[in-house]
Subunit: 297 residues, 4 copies
């Protein structure tokens, strides 16, 4: 099998490596000629078998993904397939499927999890689209997913959009899990009687109810820097946590944990919280409670 | 009527002033001779009519209140009454009632709201104890409470402990209300299209669903300092918010709003959040996501 | 002054009454001929002074408001003004302003608070648009707003959209306030020692920090039905709470309290919570903990 | 090695089995003669080597554990050691240690995780106490913990109390993790486009960021009952989640996720929520919003 791969950033390049290691021929294209296998998207398409091409798109979600899909719509032919493996919003998938369908080109959306570890461990895959198209692309999925039973690292989750929806939910859960471990870490670190915080979390990695890969990663981080002295408490959010809460609101699903984790990230990035200034101002007004002047005030 | 008042701090001194203005004779005692009317607690007790004394205690909750109640138990006689008007935990009230009952001395617990404004506006009062004792002290309550119908500023809420329990819940609600306004303030301040944040909140003070005294106070604060530039986002918590959440847990009552308000205060006082450092560390581990080094790291 | 008013539902009809009581002539139009003053929107427009018409639109947000604005664009002329007083999303305002500007027609968005009480008390008003248009419509705003200083019941909050944005935030705050009182009510009701829950909340209506109009309404409800026995715990949400949280996410503003209040409403409407079924299933899996079979299972 | 084990319920009996399988002789005592190896606690003590006895206590936390420790204090001699492996509150440990120290008897507190799976997989162990006592009991810990490196299933977390504190935090984290997965499950189940919810979660069990043992258990539950139709949404809480939030409040650590998970359990057990009745009543008061009558009202 010979496929195309658009986008050779950290994730895309790792995926190319893993695919090739599994015996799949890959022609990769990237805007950066230093890493691209070909000079243009058209060259990449030309290198693949017309009418049964598979093109995996692995570029930033939103306008860039949309641009690539549009360009591919003009280059591909009936029978070809585009797979969007990026972190696109699931609502974009229907539009991309329709656009490509106008050219007879199939479309799958693939949520991909695994981060930088996926190269070695394989990637968890959640795919949306019709069954025949999924089946046609299965060698690609089998090469990317972790070894072991297919159903433990791959799912055909539903129709177009289901893959990215599932990945979005996966990431929302991830926010909640990370915050739960983080709150537990802070509780341990706050208690004098616990003198081995890293050791305690490491002891949880086998046999306990909370054992997980994220826990193992946290232990790794603590083994490097037991008081996390080298890292700030400023935490970015990637967008998928926001989408998860937006979607929960759309579906009227209560998500107190996922939203709390998201808001904790927002708060982590605020210099001074306007809301807490307002609370401080209120306390001063009604109770004559001492407040701290703002720095420099 | 002639009563004793122990504790002449900001609240106690204001209450003495209000009581006297209502025609109640007050002998106040404070450890600080500069503000005390008498030299000792015994002198205060001696100045009052034995067997029908009313002594209002207005000192810090916990050990100090407990010490005053113990000392009064040794000085008062059957028929006298002690009223604890401080912010005691309701669980202390049964012990104080029992201790005094051993001397034939009555006991009431009074939750008091109103802050520095109470001197002028009157204090909202929530009282626990038996009906006859409440009735005996009613002239004191009537002098302290706001003018208007008694039931709009005073309640005999239940047995001993009910007054402080009600005050604790009052303060828990207060945390939630303040945080709700504060979040709204931040949302207004974050939006470019809204150019008059102070004016918007002021326009809410009549006619709207969210009008309240706290809103008026926030408007006052914003009129002084429209961007709250002079105040830090560091917010103390007085203890009653903590007790409210503890009690909610004891009673299995879900309090997502009150607890969120409490945790926002905890977070406001943290330099760097250990939990958010842990989340940042996790993101770095699994995704190679950029983190910020800690300041100075 | 003679204005048009589109939409004579509960809110619109009350506003017509209040406007007329203030000496403003109102021609109202409603699809329901039983309540309409005229037979058609065109008839309403014809009754007003061309080139200085003011038409207040008070119909359901979204498609219906949009339809009315489009129809008005075809009927009105340069110099006329449309005011959308409904609960429109602030993002709709720019489109409506632009559409009408194409005809030389001015546009204001007005957030309106006060519910069924507004007829008697007046409505809190938050207005977005340009200053000259706001000034032209000021007699209408003065008639609708509560008596007292203008700035305590009216604000020109900013450019087009600011009025509805402010109203959205107002409603988000309202969610938080209501939930805070509700949690406090439940805590009081859960505690045996508190024997007069209604009386306790009534005693908070003067002098205390938590006094507010919402508190007075809750006391009214409790005086009618002290154990709220006649009412279910099923709580609708109007949409503005959702928008507030969506917007908070867009602006990266942490809103733990407003979101918790929203999610509590979602949860109140679920028969059985799928999430809590999942938690129950997990406990059974790892601990052999007893679960309850589903009803009928 | 020959040790005593008090309490042969589900956990205790499994631990006895696992210890014996590892070659440790165990004399077990239970109040229930049908499962006990000996007739009395005294008989159990008599069977062990005086001065180097190890007695593992595995009975319900609180009064029952306290009673057993007191009785053991009267039976054991200097050089013996008691290990409390139950889910005791960490604050009880200091008292137990002191009581036993008066008899020259050592004390360790051991948090134990693993549930019914521990028999087969081993138990995660977190231990508090002094190093020499921990060392003396190490063969017992090695027999109980999972195979593999000791530090991945065992920790000497700190002084007396640290083991139970760590276990408490472990369980608090567990609440958060479970709720995060549960919210994600509900989001998947709520979305039509996702037609294979169970398969999606199963596909997360390898390679993804959210893979964990709890996820595997949830997949097992869904494989048995894909819509969780047989299980109610009523979720008990064991007490350790409550302690975690209490302790967070004591330490001023924000725990929005763990507390949200706890409150979701409280809410799951309420027939009708008094708080949401209050919100419904408020909406009716200010807006004339429709409410649902209570069932039967």
């Amino acid at each position: 099998m010979h496929i195309g791969l658009v986008g050779l950033g950290k994730m895309g390049a790792n995926m190319r490596t893993r695919l090739r290691a599994a015996g799949i021929e890959v022609t990769g294209y990237d805007r950066d000629p230093a890493v691209s296998d070909v000079a243009s998207l058209a060259d990449m398409v030309a290198a693949l078998p017309a009418g049964s091409r598979i093109v995996w798109v692995m570029v930033p979600a939103g306008a860039i993904t949309h641009g690539v899909v549009e360009e591919l719509a003009g280059l591909l032919v009936a029978g070809d397939v585009v797979i969007d493996g990026g972190n696109s919003h699931f609502a974009d998938d229907a539009a991309h499927a329709e656009l490509l369908a106008g050219h007879g080109v199939g479309y799958l959306d693939a949520g991909v999890s695994g981060g930088v570890w996926g190269l070695e461990n394989g990637y968890g895959l959640m795919v949306g689209g019709d069954a025949a198209t999924v089946e046609a692309a299965m060698p690609v999925f089998d090469a990317l997913r972790p070894p072991g039973p297919r159903e433990e690292g791959f799912v055909h989750a539903g129709a177009v959009g289901a893959g990215h929806y599932a990945k979005m939910v996966h990431n929302g859960i991830e926010y909640g899990l990370m915050q739960a471990y983080a709150e537990g870490y802070e509780l341990l670190a706050a208690k004098d009687v616990v003198t081995d915080v890293t050791g305690t979390m490491k002891a949880w990695t086998r046999g306990t109810v909370v054992r997980s890969w994220l826990l193992e990663l946290l232990v790794r981080a603590l083994e490097d820097d037991p008081e996390l002295a080298e890292i700030s408490d400023w935490v970015e959010d990637s967008g998928e946590g926001r989408w998860t809460v937006d979607e929960a609101i759309e579906s009227a699903v209560p998500v107190p944990v996922i939203s709390a984790a998201l808001f904790a990230r927002f708060a982590s990035r605020q210099g001074a919280s306007p809301a807490m200034k307002a609370v401080a101002a209120l306390r001063q007004q009604f109770g004559g409670h001492a407040t701290k002047p703002a720095d420099g005030a």
